[in-house]
Symmetry: C2
Subunit: 97 residues, 2 copies
């Protein structure tokens, strides 16, 4: 099982993922995305869903038209783990492509 | 442009959609869904996304693993309109199928 990262470990990991924010009170890491329209936003979500399902690690997320908010935490560990940092990096690549 | 339904009109419409709740403070209508797993939940979301895009009327929604929360309102009208009631009925059919 993945183990929780400490606050300083999460913050060190986010140096390489500067668009993600760490909310230590949840705890989770989160990022907001904005697209041209719903089609672009949901297309992105579909690619993230496929990547998440392949890793058996899933986001908490919401969508309103062209906006997507993603929050990552490892529910079984009750915190942020390497799984979240790794999925965030994959999501960044999908968002940039 | 679709015009806002009054509270009593929304409540009358929801007689036929008993799993939807009316939050007059937002205002919006909302329903929660629970599936077997993420794959089932996101499969449902994809079908809803296609129906929403075809109607050019989109939900505000969130997903966490097997749970989906959908909120419908007509942003351009600032309230609940026939478009929302109609999309809610379509979503109910997709959830039941």
């Amino acid at each position: 099982m993945a183990s929780n990262l400490s606050t300083s470990e999460v913050e060190a990991a986010l140096v390489g993922l500067p668009l993600w924010a760490h909310d230590a009170s949840k705890p989770a890491i989160s990022r907001s995305f904005k697209f041209k329209n719903f089609s672009e936003a949901f297309g992105f979500m579909t690619r993230v869903a496929l990547a998440a399902e392949a890793r058996d690690h899933h986001p908490d997320w919401s969508n309103s038209y062209n906006k997507v908010e993603i929050s990552l935490s490892t529910h079984s560990a009750g915190g942020v783990t390497e799984k979240d940092v790794s999925l965030a990096a994959v999501i960044d690549k999908l968002a940039a492509s």
